[in-house]
């Protein structure tokens, strides 16, 4: 109760503050925003669907968050701030959350935005179709709409308000009910020509080339946005993308979509800001997944030996240009609400690794080899094949022969998560603000076969399952943090999956862009206050 009261007060205070201040005065000392201009952003892959209520992925957010709005966003301090919802309050029993919605908001097609839209989006899209949304809203029973500006989310199990709010920044985008109701939502034309309430209106999607959105003159934040247009250009080739930045064809490339070497080069160019600022809400890890069906890997000593055998610091320094660090657990240090602290559990120590392998009963054979493993890299990042090679060479040092099996992303996902045909896998995990959103599914047993990035590793622990379930439903934030700290300890001890590094995405931004990266998920936010210096 005390918590919901606090966040309620915080949100109203923020609102009052925003209303009291005249438009430009908040940026004192900084130049006043200038209206006009086109901001062009780089995107490395085409998007099939432009509906963030149907598809939770950064590629979708980067585009649609300017067009479609969420109930809440994250403020500069990382706390949830109002967007379409102006206030929220959790009931004392933790089983319902009441959202008060913004008045006078219109869809881009002129129809009014009401609680019916929120109800429809939550029940029909987030709960039924949205990846990670189905997980988050599993216990959502109904959304009551007593009036046009109130939406009451009712849960059959306690729902921690901070979890819901943090998750809704990504999983709480609202789409217009009047366009989706009674249609096949997967085939709805509004999935590729989105209609939202946001600062920019969708104009056109030229396949293979660009997407254009233009200023919404009826946007509810009066006087904003400043930009006339936002353009997203699809540039698949990394070198071509950095050439486009250097020639001014695009001004922003977020989410580490450029080659790491180009990022380092552009960091020395005074025209660009290259940093992780404004990406704090999106940290990610290099992971090592073990197939516990292999008898060697089912032995925790072997898993620990593997972690000891890899010099993560060396990898970060030499392959990632120092952009990252070793992880002390599955919760990244950037996560203020949950990070339990602690030391790196498996320091680089080949002697210890060898001792553990000997102890586990896998002595070096003739030729120095203990056993061999097949490693499948999931190539969703430039550094993944490098990490795979690094693993291969590190493990060779301690007598484990690693054969790398090269498949493209679709092939690797299918081999690992559908066919369980792997010994080791390596790829990325993305932390989404709260461990309950997409992290704990990596450890929770009982995941149906074929769901990527869930526990398909054959590892089971009743203790961990209970901890995960309890933590997801705990409404006292202090107890919740303690439960996750306990979970971090167990996972570090048992090492079912190894989160080797923790990293943040890097954005390259041309310095003509102003007010950029001022909130922790800026590349995925609405850019309402962004402008371009002439």
């Amino acid at each position: 109760m005390s918590l919901s009261r606090r966040s309620f007060l915080a949100s109203t205070a923020l609102l009052a503050g925003a209303a009291a201040l005249p438009r430009f005065s908040w940026a004192q000392g900084a130049p006043a925003p200038v209206a006009g201009g086109v901001l062009t952003a780089h995107l490395s892959s085409e998007q099939r669907i432009l509906n963030p209520a149907l598809r939770a992925s950064t590629g979708v957010y980067v585009i649609t968050s300017k067009i479609i709005e969420s109930l809440v966003d994250l403020g500069p301090d990382g706390a949830p701030t109002p967007v379409l919802a102006t206030r929220w309050e959790a009931a004392a029993d933790g089983k319902s959350v009441t959202f008060t919605l913004r008045e006078g908001v219109k869809w881009h097609d002129g129809k009014p935005f009401t609680s019916a839209d929120v109800q429809y989006s939550a029940m029909e899209l987030w709960k039924k179709h949205l990846n990670y949304g189905t997980q988050l809203q599993r216990y959502l029973e109904a959304v009551d709409t007593p009036d046009a500006t109130t939406a009451i989310f009712r849960y059959s199990r306690t729902m921690p308000l901070p979890l819901l709010l943090r998750a809704l920044a990504d999983l709480g985008y609202v789409v217009p009910r009047h366009l989706f109701e009674g249609t096949n939502v997967l085939e709805n034309p509004a999935n590729t020509a989105p209609i939202g309430t946001g600062p920019f209106k969708f104009v056109e999607y030229q396949r293979g080339q660009y997407i254009v959105a233009e200023r919404n003159p009826e946007y509810w934040r009066k006087g904003e946005p400043y930009l006339d247009r936002v353009v997203w250009r699809f540039i698949t080739d990394k070198s071509a993308a950095s050439a486009a930045l250097e020639t001014g064809q695009v001004q922003i490339s977020a989410y580490t979509q450029l080659a790491l070497s180009d990022i380092e080069r552009l960091a020395k160019d005074s025209r660009f800001e290259v940093s992780s600022r404004g990406n704090e809400a999106n940290s990610f890890n290099n992971t090592v997944e073990f197939n516990h069906r292999r008898k060697e890997l089912a032995d925790v000593r072997v898993r620990r030996a593997i972690a000891h055998a890899v010099d993560v610091d060396f990898f970060v320094e030499n392959f990632l240009y120092g952009r990252g660090k070793r992880a002390t657990g599955f919760i990244p240090s950037i996560s203020q609400a949950f990070y339990p602290g602690g030391a790196f559990p498996y320091p680089f120590d080949t002697k210890k690794a060898e001792a553990l392998l000997d102890e586990a009963g896998y002595p070096r054979q003739k030729g120095g080899e203990r056993f061999s493993l097949r490693l499948l890299p999931i190539l969703n990042g430039e550094d993944v094949p490098q990490f795979a090679t690094f693993l291969q060479q590190s493990l060779a040092e301690v007598g484990i022969k690693v054969e790398i099996v090269q498949l493209d992303v679709a092939g690797a996902l299918s081999a690992i998560y559908k066919d369980w045909n792997f010994d080791l896998a390596t790829g990325w995990h993305q932390y989404r603000g709260d461990p309950a959103v997409s992290t704990t599914v990596w450890f929770r047993s009982g995941s149906p076969k074929g769901a990527p990035w869930t526990n398909q590793f054959g590892w089971e622990s009743a203790e961990v399952d209970t901890l995960i379930d309890d933590a997801a439903a705990e409404i006292d934030p202090v107890k919740r943090k303690a439960l996750y700290a306990q979970l971090v300890d167990v996972i570090n001890e048992e090492l079912p999956v190894w989160f080797a590094t923790e990293r943040q995405f890097v954005s390259v931004t041309n310095k003509v862009v102003q007010n950029h990266h001022n909130i922790p998920r800026w590349p995925s936010s609405d850019w309402h206050d962004t402008w371009i210096a002439k």
Partner: protein, 326 residues
């Protein structure tokens, strides 16, 4: 009329090969692990099992392979290429959007490669073993040996990034709303670097063939006869030698039509052109079978058409072929 019948017959005989190609590609792609839903999940960053099942059903991937193939062929005979899983619209629409860019790139490159190759080849042959020949032949060798992605990247670095003369990529200025001639010039500016990149490797081949073929024809009896009769040297080159030397070139151009389509994948990626090559690549990565098969079908048709045109030109250049009849 006979030409029309000839065309029809040629096209009819190519239908079985088209079918074999399509079924082959269909089956080959079945061997690749992962389907379009796996690719989609990779883009989404995951999803739960129920969503995955719904999507597989939505794309018809839960049916056995034979049924899927049957469905595809059944649609094909109704001239329906199916629905693209990446773009959420009919494959034919997606392809028609992309086709002009690739045709423009291929057409322009072919013109540059052929005209440049013929000119330089003739020049080299006329000055054989003198310095122009050495220079041209060396350049040809360099172009032939350099991979086109590297050439493309270097062109971008030099002409776009360092000198700022030409745009580094894209088909036209995004959303500039140019019309008519301004738009044509804008597109021409954007196409300059990709065209040169794609054409250089072919130019090098044509140059070498042209040079060799010119030298060979020059030594034949009828040229010697013409020369003995005192025919003007320019006339000998254009009428007697060039005409005959062009024949092997034509064969090569016909064969190159498909190679060029393959080369355009690289060039379109480097210069971010929205063409068929990139679409094909994307379709493979995304396991968008319908789109890929559509492109394969179209490319096959394209190659058949180009070869058909080459055959006609052949007949025009060498009356003996026409005389023998088809």
């Amino acid at each position: 009329m006979s030409l029309f019948l000839f065309a029809l017959r040629r096209l009819a005989t190519s239908i079985p090969s088209l079918l074999i190609i399509l079924v082959g590609v269909f089956l080959l792609l079945q061997l690749a692990p992962g389907d379009t839903v796996d690719a989609l999940l990779a883009q989404m960053g995951g999803g739960d099992a129920q969503i995955i099942e719904t999507l597989r059903h939505f794309y018809g991937l839960d049916a056995p392979v034979a049924v899927q193939l049957g469905r595809y062929l059944l649609r094909l005979v109704q001239f329906d290429l199916g629905y693209s899983a990446i773009y959420g619209k009919p494959v034919i629409d997606v392809i028609v959007e992309r086709l002009p860019v690739t045709l423009l790139l291929m057409g322009a490159s072919l013109v540059v490669a052929v005209s440049g190759g013929v000119a330089l080849g003739v020049l080299a042959a006329r000055r054989v073993n003198k310095w122009p020949d050495t220079l041209i032949s060396t350049l040809g060798l360099v172009f032939y040996a350099t991979p086109s992605f590297w050439l493309g990247l270097m062109a971008v670095v030099v002409f776009a990034v360092k000198l700022g003369w030409l745009p580094p990529g894209g088909f036209e200025e995004v959303g500039a709303g140019y019309q008519g001639l301004t738009r044509a010039l804008d597109i021409a500016r954007h196409m300059a670097l990709p065209t040169i990149t794609l054409s250089l490797i072919f130019l090098a081949t044509y140059l070498r063939i042209m040079r060799a073929s010119m030298l060979e024809v020059s030594s034949l009896d009828f040229v010697r006869t013409a020369r003995a009769k005192g025919v003007d040297e320019t006339k000998i080159v254009t009428h007697h030698v060039l005409r005959n030397a062009l024949l092997p070139m034509l064969t090569l151009i016909g064969l190159n039509a498909s190679t060029m389509l393959g080369g355009s994948v690289v060039v379109e990626s480097v210069f971010t052109l929205p063409g068929l090559g990139r679409l094909a690549y994307e379709s493979v990565v995304q396991r968008d079978l319908n789109t890929l098969l559509g492109i394969v079908l179209l490319s096959a048709v394209l190659v058949i058409v180009v070869n058909f045109i080459v055959d006609l030109l052949y007949a025009r250049l060498d009356p003996r072929i026409r005389a023998k009849g088809h």
